[in-house]
Symmetry: C2
Subunit: 400 residues, 2 copies
Amino acid sequence: MERVPPLQSEAARAIVRDADHPRDSEVAVFGPDKPLTLDAGVSLSPFQIAYKTYGTLNAARSNAVLVCHALTGDQHVASQHPVTRKQGWWESLVGPGKPIDTDRYFVICPNVIGGCMGSTGPASTDPKTGKPWGLDLPVITIRDMVRAQAMLLDHLGIDSLFAAAGGSMGGMQVLQWAASFPQRVFAALPIAAATRHSAQNIAFHEVGRQAIMADPEWRGGRYLVDEANPRRGLAVARMGAHITYLSDAALHRKFGRKFQDRDNPTFSFDADFEVESYLRHQGISFVERFDANSYLYLTRAMDYFDLAADHNGVLSNAFKGTPTRFCVVSFTSDWLFPTSDSRAIVHALNAAGARVSFAEIETDKGHDAFLLDEPELFAIVRGFLEGAGKARGLPPAGKA
Amino acid sequence: MERVPPLQSEAARAIVRDADHPRDSEVAVFGPDKPLTLDAGVSLSPFQIAYKTYGTLNAARSNAVLVCHALTGDQHVASQHPVTRKQGWWESLVGPGKPIDTDRYFVICPNVIGGCMGSTGPASTDPKTGKPWGLDLPVITIRDMVRAQAMLLDHLGIDSLFAAAGGSMGGMQVLQWAASFPQRVFAALPIAAATRHSAQNIAFHEVGRQAIMADPEWRGGRYLVDEANPRRGLAVARMGAHITYLSDAALHRKFGRKFQDRDNPTFSFDADFEVESYLRHQGISFVERFDANSYLYLTRAMDYFDLAADHNGVLSNAFKGTPTRFCVVSFTSDWLFPTSDSRAIVHALNAAGARVSFAEIETDKGHDAFLLDEPELFAIVRGFLEGAGKARGLPPAGKA
């Protein structure tokens, strides 16, 4: 029976190392002259953003595509992950000749503020104490993440993005980009996203947070100082969340009620069913690459996200007079960010007079479909960016 | 911020006390001459069943109704709970003049084997060691629970039930009764149930079990011997499960994105949203009345339940030639035991040539609807039992 391995101070040290000195990444450091103003009402300074780029920025600086990652993603969108050694999380969509074509576009993928792969987050060293921030880091919002990304663009000398694209929490950032900086986003691709988190989604996140905070190794958030790590709590949080990323149909198709390596039940609490074994594996592999406090911060950011509330309760006000063109995508079996959420985005964009196309893709793969092999998604993204590229005056494919 | 209170050995002692000597309950003890043969391939002996009865058994012994409880229910179906002091969990449906009318029927509600309210379960004392069974208790199945209930009926001198009724895990027991003892069940009422647990449901259960087993206070299941108690893990398990009992729509209606006692976010990890506060309360109150190992055993029993697998993969074989009349009920917003599960029951019963009526009740209350104020459910149960009572030759209402 697979178990989360025993706690080791080495693991805690590795988390802090990656948080401060990310491998295989570029880092933009923003000093005391460039503080990040947070929604919590305080400033974060100094802070840093770790990011990856792919492709070449053209002379007109007009071909930049920002890819925003989801809750447990990071900047390694189209190249090998330095910790897991797995391929980039969106290599199906981003790369040479791919729908987000790095032969044509200059792709930037930053780790979000609050994350744990090199952008300032709770595992980063607090310069005032020389110790990991832990819960002393102010709570971060989606708008804060986007504000920091805008500062990264300034740092890179990029006035305006050709496109911003992302799924799930990444899609929330795309929507926030369009709302906060409409003049800086030519085209926006929010996939499997919503303009606010539902009560059910907040509830699932809260269970994950409670699982982490119930782990005695969490130590009030100060585990890194103690060289501890609430891995068991984090693994449980991940297992629960992972169910919500899949659909009942996908779980049934993949696992059904099949037993693991046997034909009959063991009459025990071992991982009897394949689906149990799969989930345990998901939990165990996640804790190797993710910081528990980051999980608290990023789920909180998603819970707080509510674009309508930021605009006097009227969602369309968030996009009033927007010049951005939108392509909104949802998946039929996604029950975490169901199609009704995407329709609400489309209705608000229509009310705001925006250019918007909408596609609901038929699939049984659930919310995770945005990360998986979905040829219809690839065709939609490719087509939308080609059309937007023409409007933007980018050279057609093969003429970059 | 509400927190699970610190562990106390008193809590562990209370669990053992209730498990061996249930308050406000009758207890049937089965000695060495009456072992319970378990699906796990071993015998349980001695064992006991705690139960409650309401109403009067008629002279013909033909008016007995067995009520089967769900995962976290118990025998206190229609009277005050001795621990929580709350009213019985199905008083809306069971009592004088109620649809399951205790003026007409003799209602028996046993605590299931594996439970923690007085029937033999992991918190009960193992007579061989004088200590709580813990994980040394063999794994229990739904069929084992029903076998034990049949022995209770023998003990009570009741040959045949007028009806068996229950929701969720209670509905599984009702279906198992009809499959195992067709001659002993005149009418069967499985509500919000299924003939097998889905991969998604197994997955949610596994997360709950892992939350319990990740709590260091669980101590390999031996916490009662150590006078410890994995309350935090059990609270997290309950919180996660509770989300699955409600619907997205019900959560939205009840809580939406409302903040708890304030208008704005706190930018902290307190229970900011009402839904968080509600869930934490659910977790905390649950651990006051439930044993963590029982939670492991009962979720396992549900996971293992698969009536078709017990009958060479053909579900209708489970009901072949059954004389029982069935009323199957589902709820539109129940995504844990969706209507498709109930339809599968109905199709199998049709294929087996059984008498069956089916009702899908329109509600946004999710799986929990079977426990709540659902007038349509009350009318259906009352009507079905009245019709069955006529067929059984019971005196009409008011003539008992």
